[in-house]
Symmetry: C2
Subunit: 156 residues, 2 copies
DNA sequence: GTCTATTAGTTCCCTCAAGGAACTGGCCGG
DNA sequence: CCGGCCAGTTCCTTGAGGGAACTAATAGAC
């Protein structure tokens, strides 16, 4: 956790960062997305400190991104699963993958490929407009104050 | 900067986080995207420590996400601008905004709206498959090892 | 010519979060 | 009853973030 909390800003980016902006959190989310659901597994896969992993998991559960599921009563054992809120957050991971593949993968090519169920092809995500369906990137939009804007301040 | 660097992992998410995963970096990117380009302006808008801002800007310039543009020779004064690489990184911000709007905006509604140039409508981004154009989310894909995968390890 | 303001950092100290390793508690199998 | 597994917790050390003061370069006011 960084010292300054972002959740109070009238900014959806800051609020999203408040949930998964801390170091390790996106990688924990990825692990759980690909089926690495248990404390011990995640700790070993990432090489993260157990203390930090405990803190992150607790926060993600509080934020309703993950839910702690008992897979054994005796002894009490838990695994972590994505909620609907958490599943949608994985969109962010797909976009990170896309950017990382394009700009950091280098000679070797992307470390992981994604096959789309609908068409069966290996592909990647693209951003489109929810209204017209055309390509929509940072350069293709105007930014306007919305209903939840803080007075006298414009934040994204 | 968190203690553990992520850039060396064979994982595009980790590599992307290596560039903008540190606290404040996405918010700095956002500021520059919306036209807040100068050190003093960013520092005041975010309330970030000047020391940390210096470190982040330096790193983002080294990572070729930003470029340091001299807008005055005497006295030497600089502003920060997005490179093509940096502009594409803003896609990530749009997806963060979308998630934040959906899950954290609450009663007040989204603080900022985005109008798409192509259709003139206020809308938001959606993820589509680059091959077939259909909706593509985390639940709609199979994950396969790619050419740049580390031996014996699968990372996203 | 000196005084102040502006901009872009740099330096300093202090606190608190991350890393790492050892430890705890519940339970099972031999 | 001993060792092993799992899911954490505790403790200590290091180093990153916060905050404020300081520097350098220059323009403009007086």
């Amino acid at each position: 956790m960084q010292r300054t909390r972002f959740g109070d800003l009238a900014c959806s980016i800051a609020r999203t960062l408040d949930v998964i902006g801390e170091p390790w959190s996106p990688l924990i989310l990825r692990d759980i997305y690909v089926g690495i659901n248990r404390f011990e597994q995640i700790q070993q896969e990432l090489g993260i400190s157990r203390k930090v992993l405990t803190e992150r998991l607790k926060w993600l559960v509080e934020s309703e991104v993950l839910h702690r599921h008992a897979y054994s009563e005796r002894p009490p054992r838990y695994e972590y699963r994505l909620t609907a809120k958490g599943f949608e957050l994985c969109d962010l991971l797909l976009v990170m993958v896309r950017w990382g593949d394009r700009w950091t993968a280098g000679e070797a090519g992307p470390p992981v490929l994604y096959r789309h169920h609908a068409c069966g092809q290996v592909s990647h995500v693209e951003l489109r407009c929810s209204v017209c369906g055309e390509s929509m990137h940072a350069a293709d939009v105007d930014v306007l104050p919305g209903p939840g804007a803080a007075p006298e301040v414009t934040r994204a």
